[in-house]
């Protein structure tokens, strides 16, 4: 449908049909979307974050709406790495690029999950979720302390030869510092941002809207924060960046590419429309056509400077 524009992209060595992936935790394990879309037409998917053992997650309420966004505290419920490899991967279309997201509560367990996935040919790359704003375990996030983050990346780097993306937490003073830490420890790329830590109140019941209290803010509301962090990180490191946060349209995706992202992930918008990712791809193609951009990758980092006032 957009043969005219060259939509192909590359993310740390992985060839993508187009630069639009679906974000971890917002597309399940892929199969959930097949009733609605031809999922292999996407640039790829990042499957729900996996742990060594299955996890049950938080008690409800786990989600609530916010202005132009939503707050969630799913707490990384997942079926565990073994069940994913055994039951989910084989069911996915062969031509679909699958990135596996990894999460754990201790360093060595993180590395173990990476090691387990390293041998799985069907997995194109790993994404370390260093940034779950709502997991109480350990309190502070791995991605919030430069030293802990360095240890994490080092441990996982040793555990896999697959392209290693680190998904950063936005809940930090300096995203540039965290980006440099990851590059220094051998990460192949960065994914940002994860959900922003937030809280909502049900004033009628006088309780936090989520039983967990704190949650992760996502959706269009955080778009300007995500663009800012991609802009800052892309100026701090040379490794490629996958932009995430509030993407709802092709033009939102263009904004991320211009700020320096090599690819993007659509998250929350898939809940409002299972075809959101494909519509973002179509919008991206339409933008390229109307702005005479032959190859989408020519947009990466192509922000122009303002003329002196």
């Amino acid at each position: 449908m957009s043969a005219d524009v060259d939509l192909r992209a590359e993310l740390c060595g992985v060839e993508l049909r187009n630069p639009v992936l679906l974000a971890s935790g917002t597309c399940g394990y892929g199969s959930e979307l097949s009733p609605f879309i031809a999922i292999e037409e996407l640039g790829g998917i990042v499957a729900k974050s996996l742990t060594l053992e299955p996890r049950a997650g938080n008690l409800p309420p786990r989600i609530t709406e916010t202005p132009a966004g939503m707050l969630n505290a799913i707490s990384l419920e997942n079926i565990g790495v073994e069940a994913f490899i055994r039951d989910k991967l084989p069911a996915l279309p062969p031509s679909l690029v699958v990135v596996s997201s990894v999460f754990e509560t201790e360093l060595d367990r993180y590395a173990e999950v990476c090691k387990r996935l390293d041998g799985v040919a069907r997995v194109a790359a790993l994404e370390l979720n260093a940034s779950c704003p709502h997991v109480k375990a350990g309190g502070i996030e791995f991605g919030q302390d430069p030293r802990v983050l360095a240890q994490l990346v080092r441990a996982c780097r040793q555990a896999t030869r697959k392209p290693l993306l680190v998904k950063l937490s936005p809940n930090v003073t300096s995203i540039a510092e965290m980006a440099r830490v990851c590059e220094g420890e051998g990460a192949d790329g960065l994914s940002l941002i994860n959900a922003v830590q937030g809280l909502m109140v049900d004033v009628h019941r006088r309780r936090t809207s989520l039983r967990n209290g704190l949650g992760g803010l996502s959706g269009p509301a955080i778009l300007p924060i995500a663009l800012r962090m991609v802009f800052q990180a892309s100026r701090a490191v040379k490794i490629p960046i996958c932009g995430i946060g509030g993407i709802a349209t092709g033009e939102d995706a263009v904004a991320f590419l211009l700020c320096g992202a090599s690819a993007v992930q659509v998250g929350t918008l898939t809940y409002t429309n299972p075809a959101a990712g494909l519509e973002v791809r179509d919008g991206l193609a339409a933008y390229c056509r109307s702005h005479r951009v032959a190859r989408v990758r020519d947009l990466v980092g192509a922000l122009e400077a303002w003329p002196p006032g």
């Binding site: 609605f36 997650g57 309420p61 709406e65 969630n72 709802a248 075809a275």
Partner: protein, 246 residues
């Protein structure tokens, strides 16, 4: 299945009628996710709202609702011809009764029971309740069906003064279909189990996606977490244990 952009045929404080191109049909008790800004002119409210299909087909699909917040307030004020995104039909829906059945509906829960009643199975009883007469959505439609119908209101403005479950006398071996406020469904389940009757309830959790990817709509059961949008919204009440809900 695809998300359809529907047009508003009729809209009011408790009723929405949509033309939904390509609506494939549905089972009683299934629901749809209604999105209120399909062209993304508005990015807020962001999430679609789950609504039971009341009745109808692609040419005119009807929903009954109660205004409880911003989303339903917007629904009540939709202009004729306005665009609404519709994803559905979703969820398991009700299994048709294989014997006598009693339908117990309260407030907005009534919406998911209409088509069961409209099938007029043998030995059907319908019990509807609300705070006041006005809260019994779709009353006129049920009356037209000419089924055995009994009513209750908290303020006595119509039928029995009190809870609709006061009218429930489950028959051994029958199926009780209860849909409404949590307390009402719990009471119905109690009475049903005492009478050795089956009991099916439809749960109303907050939802983000409606098709199983956000994991936001869980309900805790003795058998573990269940997702209201994909495992439900209809559950065997005796197996629920009434654990934590959204």
């Amino acid at each position: 299945m695809r998300r359809a952009i529907a047009r508003v045929l009729e809209s009011g404080p408790t009723r929405l009628v949509l033309e939904v191109p390509g609506w494939p049909g549905h089972r009683p008790g299934q629901f749809a996710m209604l999105g209120l800004g399909p062209e993304l002119l508005h990015r807020d409210p962001l999430l679609p709202r789950p609504m039971a299909v009341y009745r109808g087909d692609a040419s005119a699909l009807e929903f009954l609702f109660k205004v409880v917040g911003r989303g339903t307030r917007i629904m009540a004020e939709l202009a004729k011809g306005a665009a609404v995104s519709v994803l559905g039909p979703l969820g398991n829906g009700f299994a048709a009764p294989d014997g006598p059945a009693t339908l117990v509906g309260g407030g907005s829960g009534i919406a998911s029971l209409y088509e069961l009643a409209a099938a007029r199975p043998a030995g059907l009883r319908v019990l509807l309740g609300g705070r006041t007469r006005a809260d019994i959505l779709g009353l006129e439609d049920f009356e037209k069906l000419g089924v055995e119908l009994r009513l209750a209101t908290d303020d006595g403005s119509l039928g029995h003064r009190g809870l609709v479950t006061d009218l429930l006398e489950p028959r051994e071996g029958e199926s009780v279909y209860a849909c409404g406020p949590l307390g009402m469904m719990q009471r119905a389940q109690q009475l049903a189990s005492q009478a050795h009757a089956r009991c099916l309830v439809s749960l109303e959790n907050n939802m983000a996606c409606g098709f199983g990817v956000c994991l936001g709509c869980v309900v805790k059961t003795p058998a573990g977490f269940r997702y209201v949008c994909t495992h439900g919204p209809v559950f065997d009440a005796h197996a629920l244990g009434w654990g934590a809900r959204a």
